[in-house]
């Protein structure tokens, strides 16, 4: 099923914006196919670096309910969270997407079948978004994922 997840926080160089991972007891594969990144603050020049990286444990964060794009779909199993206070356990060097972005800019990435970012149906494994270069401003990531 296709899901939409909006992740938001005041950007931190040390803590993640958010992440989406397989459920700990009923894991499913998650395919990322559409990502939109941006900053909500008034226009100004600040550099942001968004890093998408695989993780094996979800950390501590505020839970976000993934929204079903088709209301008739069954209940989702995947877990999403934002505004981490304890970062996920990122896998070293497993960076899958790296985006430098000015505060004024908006970025979108879409992928067709075969080019999507897939996280395994393994308990609490997923992909998180961190901002190692950032200003303390509200940032948002909207991700469309497919759970299967």
């Amino acid at each position: 099923m296709n899901l939409s997840v909006k992740l938001r926080r005041t950007a931190s160089a040390a803590l993640s914006l958010g992440g989406i991972n397989a459920d700990a007891t009923r894991p499913r594969r998650i395919e990322w196919y559409d990502v939109i990144l941006g900053c909500e603050a008034p226009a100004a020049d600040n550099p942001f670096l968004y890093i998408f990286q695989r993780y094996t444990a979800a950390g501590t964060a505020t839970a976000v309910a993934p929204q079903k794009l088709d209301p008739a779909d069954a209940v989702t199993e995947c877990d999403a969270a934002e505004n981490h206070t304890v970062d996920p356990t990122y896998t070293a060097n497993e960076i899958v997407l790296e985006i430098p972005l000015n505060q004024r800019a908006t970025f979108r990435w879409l992928a067709v079948e075969g080019g999507r970012l897939i996280s395994p149906a393994t308990a609490s494994n997923g992909i998180g978004i961190s901002t190692p270069t950032s200003a303390a401003l509200a940032i948002t990531a909207t991700a469309h994922v497919n759970e299967r």
Partner: protein, 104 residues
């Protein structure tokens, strides 16, 4: 490993009110799924790599695995072996199923 034409599997766009809109084709690494930005007009044989230290995009000749016949990123190219991402996912899931079955 060598260079060759590669399939385009993604599209990225950056909209900045003060600069022209930037559009890029992307492909993904066949070994780790890293999204690779491709230089336009090069038949995807040239990658655009972001240099964090200098905060600029640099052009690099791309890499291709002739075992799985897919484009790969430079980190996977340096490893010199073929392990497609599908196999990595299956291994991860198999380990998880084993842990569950033994109650760990």
């Amino acid at each position: 490993m060598s260079t060759s034409a590669k399939p385009i599997t993604g599209y990225a766009v950056t909209v900045d009110p003060d600069h022209p809109t930037v559009e890029r084709d992307t492909t993904t690494c066949g070994h780790c799924q890293r999204v690779i930005f491709c230089k336009p007009g090069t038949a995807q044989t040239t990658y655009l790599i972001f240099d964090r230290a200098a905060w600029v995009w640099t052009e690099e000749l791309g890499a291709f695995c002739r075992v799985c016949m897919r484009p790969i990123c430079f980190a996977c190219c340096d490893q010199g072996r073929c392990l497609p991402w599908e196999q990595k996912l299956e291994r991860s899931e198999a380990r998880d199923r084993l842990r569950r079955s033994v109650g760990v």
